[in-house]
Subunit: 290 residues, 2 copies
């Protein structure tokens, strides 16, 4: 099975589990709607790529870690789209969860997906691996350093920009590289840099797309940073400056890959991810050459 | 340290941890506001009482389990109070989290508390205990059998009443008795009945209070079941019938306590809990005699 099939299969199993027995039908449907069809599955793909690069010694743990990470990511999208936050009517080209179902069901769907992520990790047969993955995922999702903290910064008058970006976007990429390493029995510490750099690159690419693309191409509302007056790499550095910065960060990301059996393949994956992230008209300028 | 001090101390540690380093100040404050001062701390008190009755062989695990359970409960209250659900302006006699802070911060506070609950469980030194506690807490919080499922039933046209009550109220009481047992090295299975029965009793007592008390005495909006057209024991059985049912369930709860060193003390605790739950004017009628 290729990476993408492994990820989807494990997410599907988690969703079936969430709706088994006597479960409220609408919330069950909302969970699946929130996760399927997915977007690019960037974070779990990175996680699986790192696990593979480290030998994929425990494929079930890697699959479960990837699915748990994506469930948390999907939960954050559902909550971010709520009227109290971005008030986004569309996500991945279809109505957002609160539009398709209701606001209560969107709040509950987010909560349920977060909890399911931790439940499936706890079911990994090796307790030490399960615990290590749970620690990483909780630290990178919650407070004070995870995506909740990142969103929380948006309610502050004075934003610590470094903490904001690292928590809002970087945190789940760090979780991706570290959880991939742990699933293959490696020490997560040396994998933090790669995740942090991919996260930084992703943030800048997202800022570029938010500026350069319209709502239809994005599959979600465009120009959100300007509307919500959020700090944005393009407003700070200009399009050229932001593109240059993206290029440098990706080069640093590739340089930071720890020595492992699949180092070269992993470097290739980072380049491919960068290509997919980067607005089409800038690809030549921003993606580091092989 | 008495039970109450142990519970508060561990919750305080979790809250300090959630705001340490460079954390967004308002979200940090919202987390503490959501949890402190607490209500009756009924669920963690039951958890600790079971752990004590089973010998309290791992007090740190019991303290952490109790705090994690209460964080989840507090998170559910914060989300339940949101305009999309109960639209409650007050909770525990003070403005609800979204009123005191904002709706985004209330959503994030709930999310962060859920995640922190799983993070602190993962930090329990014994991995097998940590995993067992995580499984119980996630199953009893999420979908298809936890409090999220319970809330989810309220969006259905046809409610499975048994599944609804068991998930909405019973689930965290089952978590309480089972997690207390696991923290003291016991098999959680035989502790499910006690939790389920305490949960049923709690639901009926809550229905009675919702009918008999006004908003000021409750510290939260009264008459919510009638307003939201939710199934309620009093509307089904009348005040007398509901009181009789409460009495019978508490007797069954006490009878279901598994053999353990602290059986008698635990029976006493269940009676005390019942007294605290029961509307004052009915105490004599509803609490089983010693």
């Amino acid at each position: 099975m290729d990476l993408s099939n492994r990820i989807e299969a494990r997410i599907d199993r988690a969703l079936v589990d969430a709706g088994c027995g006597i479960a409220p039908a609408k919330l069950t449907a909302a969970l699946t709607y929130a996760c399927k069809p997915g977007g690019a599955r960037i974070r779990p793909t990175i996680l699986m790529s790192v696990a593979l690069a480290c030998g994929d010694i425990n494929p079930k743990a890697a699959d479960t870690a990837a699915a748990a990470l994506e469930l948390i990511h999907c939960a954050s999208l559902v909550h971010d789209d709520l009227p109290a936050f971005d008030d986004a009517d569309i996500r991945r080209g279809k109505p957002s969860v609160h539009k398709a179902f209701s606001e209560p069901l969107a709040i509950l769907a987010g909560d349920s997906l977060i909890i399911k992520a931790f439940e499936i990790l706890a079911r990994i047969p090796d307790p030490a691996t399960a615990i290590s993955l749970t620690k990483i995922l909780s630290i990178r999702s919650g407070m004070p350093n995870g995506i909740c903290a990142g969103q929380g910064w948006e309610s502050e008058q004075h934003i610590d920009l470094f903490a904001y970006h690292k928590a809002k976007t970087g945190a789940l990429f760090i979780a991706a590289t570290q959880m991939g390493a742990v699933a293959s029995g490696q020490d997560p510490e040396q994998w933090e840099d790669l995740g942090a750099r991919i996260g930084e690159a992703f943030q800048i690419a997202d800022d570029l797309r938010d500026t350069l693309y319209d709502t239809e191409s994005l599959g979600k509302p465009a120009g959100q940073d300007e509307i919500h007056d959020r700090p944005n790499a393009v407003s700070q550095l200009g399009v050229e400056g932001a593109s240059e910065r993206l290029k440098n960060i990706l080069a640093a990301a590739i340089a930071s890959i720890p020595a492992c059996p699949g180092e070269a393949v992993l470097a290739h994956m980072v380049r491919k991810t960068a290509e997919n992230l980067t607005p089409v008209e800038m690809t030549r300028r921003t993606v580091p050459s092989e």
